[in-house]
Symmetry: C2
């Protein structure tokens, strides 16, 4: 989805917002100097940002000898963004203000709770209730972003896979939801959203080549380089869960064999746990993958040998694939996010760090920092809201919205 | 190496050159419109490009009712760029004009022909002889770029690996060569150079997410997205040869196990060939990897079963790793370049195409075109020269030059 940038294109709007956000109150003249754009371009962009409620004049001015300069700042509570991470068992819904700060959170039922059309209708109703509860009028919502595991069709707003979402294949998720709400809707990949959310909330440097590995029922990742998400040809990149770690391994829904997530993701770990009668009974494992994986992860952290062995095995396989991943993307920082890392993330981080320190191709050129998300269960939904902020700030970039 | 772009930064210079190159003769006013930059910015950039000999006025003007507009064009023969692909056995040296067209070619002795300082002295002498033979005065050379297999230290202009280059580790290649020639010198990765060279010479769209897989004694790749090389944190990305295809596999010099290139690259294929007494004798295999691999590849193309089996095995392993590679970079086009693909590239292309069509993660979202370089043995050297053109056109981007 790369496109040529021109000084008056949507990239300039994003750059201006980014400068206002990062520099604090700033004048139009300073923006002109910092961007190299013309004064009329800056005036136009700023006027539209004020009209859209994204930016406001602070009221303060600075005197510079000439005409006093009015200062601009981000209008944090004028507009809200809604992000929903649609999982199989439940959906996390987050409202953020314009700066990306979390303003409200609620759990909805997930994609597995009914036929797609029913689920979408319930989400729309839950969303309206959520706004009411927060006292947010829908006119102040910039948009609603719903993120799911890939592959996705970003342009059409469709979900293509994975198998847990089988009934959703080719269901027009974006358009069906847009029919039921009064705000623009977009659909994107949960791992990409997660990367953008972590990048924003942790204020990672734009100089960084940053990866966020996301483990939910599958394993994905997002890359941020030069301050922007790496999109690839179809916004389906960074599928670390579909690195093959065994050419003769088990078949994966994606068509390939030996994919990492068939061995290391929570469903595989829970399946192994349920096959162990003693562990199965002691931890009360069942068909709720998230709750069961949490139980195994908790037991591992408490040092129960069999559970620890299973989590460590998953972590070693993850570390193996992360080596290949790092040898391809040459990142300097990785954060681990998603509910799969919520309890035993430190075991994964330890295995990944050890592998990268000893075996990464470019380890003599630079190290790779590996850290845990501070909010692993919500990061995809927070990132989904960040996608709305980015889209409404810089229309034309990223996924297409349906109004 | 991502950095924030501003309208007056080096990115603008590259954009202006790119527009002049792709649009043919164009006026300053049209450049102002196409870029959104101010007239003074365009005038400054154009004046510097004319001073540097990159752009010239055509002499023609167009009348538009107002002041007649002078047209600008790329000055193809005013400046030359030199690219050297330094391999173990030999080095390919290419001179290109400002448009990237090949003006001259010569083979030098490679990195294995002596101590690093001796080799560099011989390269400097060969380079001077090469210029004399072509009738190019060194004052018209924009720079010399020398590319090698990674890992590299781009900022220092050092080679870190691979083991065939062991004596070169930490040898200050860029600075040693810069002492002996009168032009700026840069060092970069041969696969990255190759990708840039193919991208330029094939006029791949900037909308494409493009990969060039490079097979020489190792296997690497380069990615071009949005018209620019994907650099990662240290310009050591896209190391497809160091995707592990077998966690319990053989150790690789990089520190990892089961790396693709230990099974599929020419040295591994030649080693297997030499272990087969009948094949070894019939094809006259020896320690010259390139010549021996060519002999096996030629026999495979001619349908000799044992040779075909070996090349197909290499191609299948390559296809396996390419699946993981595509699942990470989400590319829409792959070209195969480097001497490893010069003879039996079609076998590799067939295996890779089949794997991607049946097993790529995002195959329902889009296909991936797989094509052969038209000039596989020279592509890294041509790309090295393209790096010089890019650096001299847009200083501050990419590897740092030593003058």
């Amino acid at each position: 989805m790369a496109r040529r940038e021109t000084a008056t294109g949507p990239g300039s709007r994003a750059l201006v917002v980014d400068l206002i956000r990062s520099s604090g109150p700033i004048s139009r003249v300073e923006l002109t100097e910092a961007t190299g754009l013309t004064q009329p371009s800056i005036s136009n962009i700023v006027r539209r940002l004020i009209d859209d409620g994204v930016v406001r004049e602070t009221g303060a001015t600075i005197a510079t000898g000439g005409k006093p300069r009015t200062l601009l700042t981000i209008n944090s509570r004028a507009v809200f963004a809604i992000g929903i991470q649609l999982g199989f068992e439940n959906a996390v819904c987050i409202a953020t203000d314009t700066t990306g700060g979390v303003f409200g959170r609620q759990l909805f039922d997930g994609a597995g709770s009914g036929e797609p059309q029913q689920v979408v209708e319930r989400i729309a109703a839950d969303y309206r209730g959520f706004l009411t509860g927060l006292g947010i009028d829908e006119t102040r919502v910039a948009g609603l972003s719903i993120v799911t595991p890939g592959p996705i069709d970003l342009a059409q707003g469709l979900v293509i896979g994975p198998p847990s979402m089988r009934q959703w294949v080719d269901f027009p998720l974006r358009d069906a939801l847009a029919e039921l709400v009064s705000v623009p809707v977009l659909v994107d990949n949960d791992s990409a959203a997660s990367a953008l959310g972590e990048f924003w909330s942790r204020q990672i440097s734009r100089e960084s080549t940053y990866a966020c590995i996301y483990m939910g029922s599958g394993i994905g990742a997002g890359i941020v380089t030069g301050g922007a998400l790496y999109r690839g040809a179809s916004s389906n990149p960074a599928e670390i869960g579909h690195i093959s770690i065994d050419a003769a391994g088990v078949e994966c829904f994606c068509g390939n064999r030996g994919c990492l997530e068939r061995y290391a993701a929570p469903p595989a770990v829970v399946e192994a746990g349920r096959a162990d009668p003693e562990l199965n009974e002691r931890l009360g494992l069942d068909s709720d993958t998230e709750r069961s994986f949490d139980a195994i992860a908790r037991a591992a952290i408490q040092g129960q040998p069999r559970a620890l062995e299973m989590i460590e095995s998953s972590a070693r396989q993850m570390a193996m694939a992360t080596l290949s991943f790092v040898n391809l993307f040459d990142v300097d920082r990785i954060d681990l996010a998603g509910w799969g890392f919520a309890i035993a993330g430190s075991i994964y981080a330890r295995e990944i760090r050890a592998a990268l320190e000893q075996r990464a191709f470019a380890r003599r050129a630079h190290g790779v920092a590996v850290e845990l998300s501070s909010n692993p269960r919500d990061t995809a939904a927070v990132g989904a809201a960040a996608l709305i902020l980015q889209s409404s700030l810089a229309p034309g970039h990223g996924p297409s919205m349906r109004r």
